[in-house]
């Protein structure tokens, strides 16, 4: 792992540590007596703070997960080099696209 990926992984981990905590705390707080899909959407529609928070969460995931997966693949398989980097860059884009699409869908 080159130093830039190392820094990117650590920085995204800082974001994730906070984001996961907020995410879980929000779930525990909001669910309490049960929560329907309609009630969730009612809270998220047009809520810019919600959209920005989860967009940041998704971006951190898209940075963090492929770097970690790259390390695992390098250690456990003989896969190395450019094809590995390209595959994981595509995986990052996939996570980004799926995540941001979901955030957008519950925002609008």
């Amino acid at each position: 792992m080159n130093p830039k990926l190392f820094v990117a992984q650590r920085l995204s981990a800082f974001v994730l540590a906070a984001a996961v905590a907020v995410h879980l705390a929000t779930i525990l707080y909001a669910v309490r007596g049960g929560l329907s899909a309609g009630e969730i959407l009612a809270r998220t529609h047009g809520n810019l703070a919600f959209a920005l928070f989860y967009a940041a969460f998704v971006i951190a995931v898209a940075v963090h997960a492929p770097i970690g997966l790259r390390n695992v693949l390098r250690e456990w398989t003989p896969w190395r080099g450019r094809s590995l980097d390209i595959a994981l860059a595509l995986f990052s884009l996939l996570l980004l696209a799926l995540g941001l699409r979901a955030v957008y869908a519950v925002y609008v």
Binding site: M1, N2, P3, F6, V7, R10, N71, R74, E75, W76
Partner: protein, 242 residues
Amino acid sequence: MTQSASALEIEVWRGAEEGSFQTFKTPRREHQTVLDVVTEIQREQDPTLSYRFACRVGICGSCAMVVNGRPRWTCRTRVSEVLENGNHIRLEPLRNLPIVKDLTVEMTAFFDKWKNARGYFEPGEKPAGDFAVVKPDSKKRRAVDESIECIGCGVCYSACDVVEWDKDYLGPAALNRAWTLVNDVRDQGNAARLDAISKSEGCQACHTHMNCTQFCPKGIAPTYSIAGLKRKVWWRAFWGIS
């Protein structure tokens, strides 16, 4: 007591990468070390047994082997410390290095990695004009003190899981040596050294399993040296500070 009636049962690896264990029986003696046992087998029972030693007192680091699954200096390991099932010991060559024969491994890769980690003093283009003043209680000097006593025995390298997964990983000993030089105020080669130890096979690959730290016969903690290197690499990549 010089000799006991109960014989030791010693399983010894014979061959190279392909091979098998051969069992020897030797007398149990008071205070005998595992190296004593190997020497006795070689001198009294099978002169073709290959192993390596020099000083016999924990200075040279050449007699390291895997004893009952754990890498150790055999000269500083008493038989009484490691016996299993009363009288059994299993001896293997160090792991993660090619086996030359029996208990002898080829250590070229291990020492090449010290070079690859630039684990040697770089005086710089111009020699220093005067003696460097290094206060013994300075932070850098204390960091050096904690990691300087390595004698290159290969025990940590044998114990390291990451070396086992990734044969290119520089390993605890080479990175530990790099850390002593990073903290050497006289050294002029840190930019190149930090480049060398922060590639894919460098310090960031360490999983902090701490096997090196657990098994180092000198009580060095290469894990902390590697953590120090990670911090250096982090600040250098983040702020350009080296």
